[in-house]
């Protein structure tokens, strides 16, 4: 599995995708930092992360859209799937590589935390909860993005499907409050308040695992219908 992680991670930086993702995120994040901190005078780190989550909604699909779609289109999936490596490891390898990119991005945001420390005293525990929530949200988006990518050989379709899905579940509670627990962003919003909710954490992880399992089902099923 390590080999898949290594290769996938490297691929993010051999193509512009890795740079685009990190760059785009930091650009937007800096924008919100400027508006929230420098213009409006908030000195808490977590506040910017409310906006940070909305950025993720749109840019995680950039990271995941090519994972399986591109392999299918170029035929390299034949190399991957005829190697003596299990499907589970292939899927997990791709998932972990994408997660690593998000973690690197998060590490960059610590710079902003440093800046805030210089001017005030932001709460470390809340910041930690925020970063954890942010990561949980990210892995959920990644897992769904990979599932979407396994469904098609067109990257754009996969990307559009993921963005569409992310926006849909984001706004579901507006249709009817009954759906409030379906909104990943709703669940996430408790983390920047400094609360690490076990139930919510489990929901994120369960969602992620479900998407990964579904991806495996899709890939396995394709073996017999392809």
């Amino acid at each position: 599995m390590l080999s898949v992680i290594k290769k996938e991670f490297k691929s993010y930086f051999l193509s512009p995708i890795g740079y685009v993702f990190i760059g785009l995120f930091l650009l937007m994040f800096s924008l919100f930092f400027h508006i929230d901190v420098l213009q409006d005078g908030y000195t808490n780190f977590e506040f910017i992360f409310y906006s940070g989550a909305t950025i993720l909604t749109f840019i995680v699909p950039i990271l995941t859209m090519r994972t399986f779609a591109d392999e299918r289109k170029t035929g390299t999936e034949q190399l991957l799937l005829t190697s003596p490596i299990s499907l589970t490891k292939v899927v997990l390898g791709k998932f972990i590589a994408a997660t690593l990119i998000v973690i690197i991005t998060e590490l960059f945001t610590l710079l902003y935390f440093g800046i805030l420390c210089f001017f005030g005293t932001p709460q470390v525990t809340t910041a930690f909860a925020t970063l954890l929530g942010f990561l949980l949200l990210a892995i959920s988006y990644i897992a769904f993005g990979i599932l979407a990518s396994s469904l098609t050989e067109n990257q754009i379709t996969a990307g559009a499907l993921s963005v569409g899905f992310n926006i849909l579940i984001w706004f579901l509670p507006r249709l009817n409050p009954v759906y409030s627990n379906f909104s990943l962003i709703n669940l996430y919003s408790k983390f920047p308040e400094g609360r690490i909710d076990i139930a919510d954490t489990i929901t994120f992880i369960a969602f992620t695992i479900t998407c990964i399992l579904l991806t495996l089902v899709v890939l396995q099923r394709r073996k017999s219908v392809r």
């Binding site: 390590l2 080999s3 898949v4 290594k6 290769k7 490297k10 691929s11 051999l14 193509s15 170029t74 035929g75 390299t76 999936e77 034949q78 190399l79 991957l80 799937l81 005829t82 190697s83 003596p84 490596i85 299990s86 073996k223 017999s224 219908v225 392809r226």
Partner: protein, 313 residues
């Protein structure tokens, strides 16, 4: 050793491969032949475990592909049709990745990768990005990816498509060389290639096996009339009398008159006789000059066409 037992592949109501069975022994070079859409690639994809058969068993070196896929896949090096490659990687990175996927031991990995790169003649381009390589080198890179990890069986889907004649000769001799140490299965459109390289041929049509045999036997199986083609200079038209003079000639037919005054004839002779020596001697006596004499030979192409046509009826 590869055993294919009653394998069927269906897509909905369409049967791509219909109940095929064959066995391939160690060290054989097998050619898989068939018109487009006959089920060659489907068969290869099943052998490599890329797709699953609807029915039947595929056993690679004692391991059932469906039940022990990891062990079975470990024995196979696969070069898929159209040579898919990770174009962002360099040749060396690609071969190393393949080695990692095939679980080549870490300690010897570097060494094995280097060995394969040298064997396939990629040493000079190993640091180049795959997307910048010519078609011939891409083919070699794909081959290197298949070879690394020392599989016993090599499965090559159309290995020479899209290459120039020089590259084709190079790849062919590489395959021949590999055939000494590996079991090789290759599919091809080029029949002369198959008859040159392969020790055995499997002909597939419409998902069914039409014939399994050596190229020579297949050619012999469709031997047509025992014909000899002659180009002669015969100013006195003495050829008309030759039918009576030489025993065994069934018929002499004029094929064409050439501009230089020579004529081309087809002599149909009785089965199981080779009249060339007699013709040479008798024609000389009659002052007929022979410019060219050739016994009609049957190629694998003829055998192929006949078998495929036969299937249609």
């Amino acid at each position: 050793m590869i055993e294919v037992k009653n394998v069927t592949k269906k897509y909905g109501s369409f049967t791509a491969v219909d109940n095929i069975s064959f066995e391939i022994k160690d060290g054989e070079i097998i050619g898989l032949l068939g018109p487009n859409g006959a089920g060659k690639s489907t068969t290869m994809n099943m052998l490599t475990g890329f797709i699953e058969q609807t029915e039947g068993d595929i056993i690679i070196d004692g391991y059932n592909m469906l039940k022990k896929p990891k062990k079975a896949k470990r024995e196979i090096g696969y070069m898929p049709e159209g040579v898919p490659l990770y174009s962002d990687l360099t040749v060396k990175e690609f071969v190393t990745y393949m080695a990692e996927l095939k679980k080549v031991d870490r300690k010897v990995r570097k060494e094995k990768v280097q060995k394969v790169i040298e064997e396939t003649g990629l040493k000079d381009v190993q640091r180049k990005l795959i997307k910048n390589l010519s078609r011939g080198y891409k083919q070699r890179t794909s081959m290197a990816g298949a070879l690394v990890g020392e599989p016993k069986i090599l499965i090559l889907d159309e290995p020479t498509v899209g290459l120039d004649p020089k590259q084709i000769t190079e790849i062919r001799s590489l395959i021949k060389e590999l055939g000494k140490t590996h079991t090789v299965i290759l599919s091809s459109h080029i029949l002369s290639e198959v008859s040159q390289i392969c020790s055995k041929v499997i002909i597939i049509n419409k998902g069914k096996i039409v014939a399994i045999d050596t190229p020579e036997k297949l050619e012999a199986s469709v031997a047509t009339n025992n014909n000899i083609y002659l180009t002669i200079e015969d100013p006195d038209n003495k050829i008309d009398g030759m039918k009576e003079k030489i025993k065994g000639i069934k018929e002499i037919k004029l094929v064409e008159e050439n501009e230089d005054g020579t004529k081309r004839y087809c002599i149909e002779s009785e089965d199981n006789t080779d009249l060339r020596k007699t013709i040479f001697a008798e024609f000389a006596k009659e002052n007929i000059t022979i410019y060219e004499m050739k016994k009609e030979s049957v190629t694998l192409e003829d055998a192929f066409m006949k078998l495929i046509e036969g299937g249609k009826k």
